[in-house]
Symmetry: C2
C-alpha cells in the first residue's frame, strides 16, 4: 500500500482523487472530440481552397488576395468576440491557415505555368 494514502481516503499533496481524474478524463474526451471535428472541417476547407487555387491558377490570378484576407479577418474577429474566443488568437489562427493556403495556391500556379495549357485540363 502506498504510504501517503495509508489508513484514509484523503489524497496527499500532488495526488488526485478519483473524482478529479474522472473530471479530467471527461474534459479531455470532449477536447479530443472537438479536435477530430476540427480536423475534418479543415479537410473540407482545404478542398474548397484547392478549388479556389485551381481557378486562380487557370485564370492567372495572384495566389494571395490581401483585400479578401482583410475582410475575412475583420469578420472572424467579430465572430470570435461573440463566441467569447480571444479575437487576437482567432486572427493569428486564420493567418496561420491562410499562409498554408497561399503556399498551396503558389504550388498550383507553378504547376500551371510549368505545364502550360494542361492546367486548364485538370480543372
Amino acid at each position: 500500500m502506498d504510504s501517503s494514502s495509508a489508513g484514509n481516503n484523503t489524497p496527499g499533496p500532488g495526488e488526485l482523487t478519483q473524482d478529479v481524474r474522472d473530471e479530467l478524463a471527461t474534459l479531455r474526451d470532449s477536447i479530443d472530440n472537438i479536435d477530430a471535428a476540427i480536423v475534418h472541417i479543415l479537410a473540407e476547407r482545404f478542398k474548397a481552397t484547392q478549388r479556389v487555387g485551381r481557378l486562380k491558377a487557370r485564370h492567372s490570378l495572384p495566389a494571395a488576395d490581401p483585400a479578401r484576407e482583410a475582410r475575412q479577418i475583420t469578420r472572424l474577429r467579430e465572430l470570435a468576440e461573440n463566441a467569447k474566443l480571444d479575437p487576437a488568437f482567432a486572427e493569428k489562427l486564420l493567418n496561420f491557415i491562410i499562409a498554408e493556403v497561399i503556399r498551396h495556391h503558389e504550388t498550383l500556379a507553378n504547376e500551371a505555368q510549368g505545364k502550360g495549357g494542361t492546367a486548364r485540363d485538370r480543372l
Copy 2:
C-alpha cells in the same frame, strides 16, 4: 464600354467570366461558413481547456503535459490522413493551439498561486 470586351463576350487576358466569378464567390461563401464553424468550435474547445486549467491550478499540476500532447498529435495525424488533410499541417496547427492553451494554464496557475486558497473557490 471597356475596349477589351467590345463586340463580343469573350473575356480578355486577366478578365474573369461571370461563371468564374460566381464559382469563386460560391467557394468563398463555403470557406466563410467553415471558418465560422471553426471559430465556434474553438470557443468550445477553450471552454474545456479552461476547465482543465482550473483543475490543474487547483491541484498544482503542471500547465503542460508532454505525454498527453504526444498522444494527441499521434491521433490527430492519423485522423488527418484519413480525412486527406496534410498530417504535418494538422500537427503544426495542434501545436499552435496547444501553445495558446498552455499560456492560459500558466496564467491560471499564477493566479492560483498569487491568491492562495481562493483559486479553489473559483472552480
